[in-house]
Symmetry: C3
Subunit: 271 residues, 3 copies
Amino acid sequence: MEPARQQIASAAAVLTRIREQRPLVHNITNFVVMNDTANALMHIGAAPVMAHAPEEVEEMVALAGALVLNIGTLSREWLGAMIIAGRAANARNIPVILDPVGAGATRFRTESSLRLLEAVNVQILRGNPGEIATLAGISAQVRGVDSVAAAAGSREIARTAAAKFGLTAVVTGAEDVIADERGSLLVGNGHPLMAELTGTGCMASALIGAFAAANADPVVSALGALAGFGIAGEKAAVKAMVPGSFRVALMDELYLLTAEDILAGARVAGE
Amino acid sequence: MEPARQQIASAAAVLTRIREQRPLVHNITNFVVMNDTANALMHIGAAPVMAHAPEEVEEMVALAGALVLNIGTLSREWLGAMIIAGRAANARNIPVILDPVGAGATRFRTESSLRLLEAVNVQILRGNPGEIATLAGISAQVRGVDSVAAAAGSREIARTAAAKFGLTAVVTGAEDVIADERGSLLVGNGHPLMAELTGTGCMASALIGAFAAANADPVVSALGALAGFGIAGEKAAVKAMVPGSFRVALMDELYLLTAEDILAGARVAGE
Amino acid sequence: MEPARQQIASAAAVLTRIREQRPLVHNITNFVVMNDTANALMHIGAAPVMAHAPEEVEEMVALAGALVLNIGTLSREWLGAMIIAGRAANARNIPVILDPVGAGATRFRTESSLRLLEAVNVQILRGNPGEIATLAGISAQVRGVDSVAAAAGSREIARTAAAKFGLTAVVTGAEDVIADERGSLLVGNGHPLMAELTGTGCMASALIGAFAAANADPVVSALGALAGFGIAGEKAAVKAMVPGSFRVALMDELYLLTAEDILAGARVAGE
């Protein structure tokens, strides 16, 4: 991988580009986070759209700069729509981000995630350690949508998944790791209060979509979204230390986030 | 149309009536905005209900003062429920409001909107310029749920749609226009921060439903909802200039909105 | 029933247990409140998961400490998933909470609620007076999701439902009543602003699920959730007297709620 400092500069430039270009990000995501995801995408500067009807996803994704698939409240019908949309995105070289929420908790979620990874060329896979470990074939325990335990550290999980699926794997949690076949990066931004809110992982995946819609390097996309969202969280925690108020401040700070914030605040280490 | 001053007075009186009567507003709407829509309706003084099962929509709408149809996350099944509910509403003279979210972005949305307009007697159609232009047969560009360009101004779009479908057409955006076969009105209330939040257009449509549930004149209903929501936005922007905080303040101001606020603050011009 | 003072002490201890054990609460609930419900459960200390696919609900509920069924935006397909999940919960002695949103408003909601009560062994049934009266066979009027009138007081409604279905019945409203075959309790906590927000009833049901996941006595679970949520509402109203801001404060106070708050603030009277 390139030096972290250079990738931070690239990520900061992508934020500026998002705000200039307002790329459309097509989400097929879960019911819990749709509103938060849409607002987070708007505040970072992108244009969100949610559409899941098999009749329209192919046409909708063709208008988009990125497709974000999230299986948080999956059904068989929505899985079908995700595959149609994912293949249409692939055919047009539109990057696809997959958030395999709850993979490892039920066979349906694990198998659906693996089916998506087989049927669709996913550019960036983001999840918690238990979810990504499960998909990578590493023993792990997932309870509901929470990672409880995994037989490896996040770096090994991310690197294994990246190698197995030939993509950029992002494992978020106590430490955030971005890995591809060339190596891995650690992103140290964020605040513990982000884990006290539902949907912050899903928001991170959606924000990765915004960066991927305005940039061809998936490592830069993941880095920009994770560092940017994390910095917004750090700034929000200065204003509010309880989750209801923190959530409002987090949205405010996403809107106020600048390229300079990423340049000055990103904590990224190569490995 | 009647003089704007008289219609503002009528709209202010309708707000008082909503708070006294607490009319039920039946929504078949999209997943992104359901919570915001329900809270906005409660804060204006109405009683929201969301119900989409074909087994019950006919019975539910019979209890309601208005039906709001919104295709923001449409599927074939929900379209069927909308038609059943819309026809039941028509049979009982319950006003129907249609928000054709994303019409023009995909054929499914355009065709579904046109099918709803054919199958159901819609009293008020509200959308952005691209959506309403598309349905009116005026060339336009819609990307996701955003209006990008239209070959006519909002006033011409609204008047054309009103004439084509025989209803009151509302085009919101940089300028808000309300048109029927008699003429058109401009509503100048609102604040740019409202466009930085997801679902404010959908909330406007739902609020039109609240006014339509307490008033027979669709122009007054649209005027009251647009001016009232816009004034709430103006007042909220005095308290908060960033969208996370602004959203909280907007909900507060909807709750605090009075008939006097509409009388004093509505900016309406006839054409 | 046991003396109220003793049950308050038990409920306070359960709150501590929830925060230590972080029990998984599986929700099959409505689209309007999914996000609020998930955040409320996180703030009280539980781990929420939403899953409705028939392919996975049996497996998901087996990981959970409680199952919360809520028919607020019901469809035939989701009803089927609720029955599968409910039976799987019963087979493992996982407590099931049912919130029959809108029972009495449409036949579909009334019949679906009764079918759930027949097919699944429900531990705690929570609703407004009109909903629970309808299910108990007492004449009532429900409009949308609001209780308009009932031919009996909340205490008689709760006691009748408890006896008819052999469960703990909770009727919330102007007064909150918890009843089982042994008697009834009144809980006097809460604030009128809670009724100005959508989904506070649904949040109460979800919080009962969190308490039921960490405690075997359904009366204690209902008491802890209603008193705890009510106390959070009372504390929030000190900070904010308008619903947008109040909602943020309510979430903050749920997070800050302690066992001591319940011990000191619960207002419970036996009958």
